[in-house]
Subunit: 352 residues, 2 copies
């Protein structure tokens, strides 16, 4: 993407942190760094009205993945995809309605989904192709991230039929514990294979998004989040995957510490609420990632500049990947993103 020759010995800064190094500066990438806040994304997206078809089109998804890498000096790209591709691949109907968020059809029989696990990975082969295309052109100093939704988060969408306050899924966890555990096991196995396929196709880091850890009582958090993450990570390793894995238990509150202690992730991503102290305690166990408020990134101004300095100061002395505490909001001015990336990296743009 730039005029210099690639250096095959360059080790991406992101991978150095995930290998346990405290680096000269934190690497930076943003959740949802590719997407609707970028005018070039909107232009590209307009060419494929169906969102799932867009995600599964390797040419378009690779282009979406690369767009923010041209604008900004991000240290990592994340493959453009969606956590709800997996339920689709397992046989549940999934569709996106403009302005309404995802919708899912009835939950298929568990036995039917169990029989579809192997096929589900094959149905997501295009995500692997997207990764290959991106890796072929991305500079070697920049890492490529693959991802999947965490079992509980994906299960909440599958049970509730879309976005909601997760109360139906939590009630299901109380009233049908065996059925839920079986669904989580299906998702552990299908996600492990999906992640292994991504690693085989060029992903150098994997992230597991537990978007809906919030509000869970401690016993449910143990059962629905920590347990399945431990299983999923072990299964990914059993499948021969050796690249680093980041866990993101969003909304875990004080329970994030128990998560970090029990799940042997290479990094734990923190949400906006994480305290400086808790982050430092987790840094003594593993690397951390986060936790700038996306609302502040959108607001910009002096408050944003000051908060960036605070985050660099409070965590930059240890293993730290600069990121948001949640995804970029769609009406975020692109120049706010550029300002933060330039501050953290010292570069105005890649190669600039």
């Amino acid at each position: 993407m730039n005029a210099t020759l690639p250096n095959p010995d360059a080790q991406p800064l992101m991978l150095r942190v995930l290998a346990g190094e405290t680096t000269e500066r934190p690497p930076i990438w943003f959740m949802r760094q590719a997407g609707r806040y970028l005018p070039e994304y909107l232009e590209l997206r307009a060419k494929a009205p169906d969102f799932i078809a867009f995600c599964l089109n390797p040419e378009m998804a690779a282009e979406a993945t690369l767009q923010p890498m041209r604008r900004y000096a991000f240290d990592a790209a994340i493959v453009f995809a969606d956590i709800l591709l997996l339920p689709g691949a397992l046989g549940q109907k999934v569709w996106f309605q403009a302005g309404e968020g995802p919708k899912l059809g009835p939950l298929p029989e568990l036995a039917t989904m169990e029989a579809e696990i192997e096929a589900s990975t094959a149905r997501l082969a295009n995500v692997g192709e997207t990764l290959g295309r991106v890796r072929a052109v991305l500079e070697p100093e920049r890492a490529l991230i693959g991802f999947a939704g965490a079992p509980w988060t994906v299960a909440t969408y599958m049970i509730e039929g879309g976005s909601s306050d997760r109360s139906r899924a939590r009630t299901y966890a109380y009233e049908h514990p065996e059925a839920l555990d079986r669904l989580l096991d299906i998702l552990v196995e299908a996600s492990a294979r999906y992640l292994a396929m991504q690693a085989a196709n060029g992903a150098q880091v994997l992230q597991i998004f537990e978007s809906w850890a919030e509000g869970l009582p401690e016993d449910l958090f143990q059962r629905l989040v920590i347990g399945p993450h431990v299983k999923l990570l072990a299964r990914v390793r059993e499948l021969g995957v050796t690249i680093p894995v980041i866990g993101f238990p969003r909304g875990a509150g004080a329970l994030a510490e128990g998560y970090a202690a029990q799940v042997p992730m290479n990094a734990v991503a923190l949400d906006t609420q994480a305290s400086a102290e808790m982050g430092r305690r987790i840094q003594s166990i593993t690397a951390i990632q986060g936790a700038l408020d996306p609302l502040l990134l959108r607001a910009g101004g002096k408050a944003l500049d000051a908060r960036v300095e605070t985050l660099l100061h409070q965590w930059g002395g240890g293993r730290y990947i600069f990121n948001l505490g949640h995804g970029i909001i769609l009406d975020t001015p692109p120049e706010h993103v550029g300002r933060v990336v330039a501050r953290v990296t010292g570069k105005q743009g890649w190669g600039g």
Copy 2:
């Protein structure tokens, strides 16, 4: 309410815990213990179509307050009212639409509201009358709780015009820090006077509901939650109020510990996510209250019974008030409430 003569020396169990005692069993009450899950409430409520008029009718509000006290052996009653009575009393239009939650008109000028603080307390005098009516008939062994919304939570409704994800209010906090601080100061002063009026009319305990502490970054939590709670509590004390005060920073996550350390509340109420360990650490500073999952109370069954035992076991050895982590959900079976109250109190009903 029962046939036995009142014992003037009886000290409510709730007040003993709040005075620092570890009691033989935890007292119990539930947030939203009066309300729509009770058929007798629905019958009463049908007589006054307007919700605000219902809250400000001392006869009806006293009856609503007392309904759960007849059914269950709760150790405390909480005055039937709403945290949005205060913005209404300060001159902002507030109305409730069935099935839609609260709606608020445009935010009045700050100077106008500043001039209305004294008058706002007078406009809420009927809440005082409700408290007096309840205290006159409630058994002396049972405590009476008054309450107010916390400044930030009330401000989010005032800024956003109703319920939402609070992103507008948080953006306002970033973009208009002086205006927000001034609004919070108005709410601190108006709430302090409102709470003092409740104490003067029979409330024996006060609770401050910070329903929307969740997701705030540490710096904003300090500025929008901890700061105003410290000010509000100090102002309540300056106004001569000596009764215990409970703070409820719902959704504070790991930041609840800093809250407990910095705000000298007589108890800190914990939400559903609070860990056993964090609760015990806070118990070394003050009493705690909470944190049964209202979704589990609704679901019932063995999972509910088991969780009640866990909570009693993990916190019952210290200063502990049994409660939910959030309010009762409207379609909760009343018999589930009865089952938990009976287990905690050892009584089938009051006087039973």
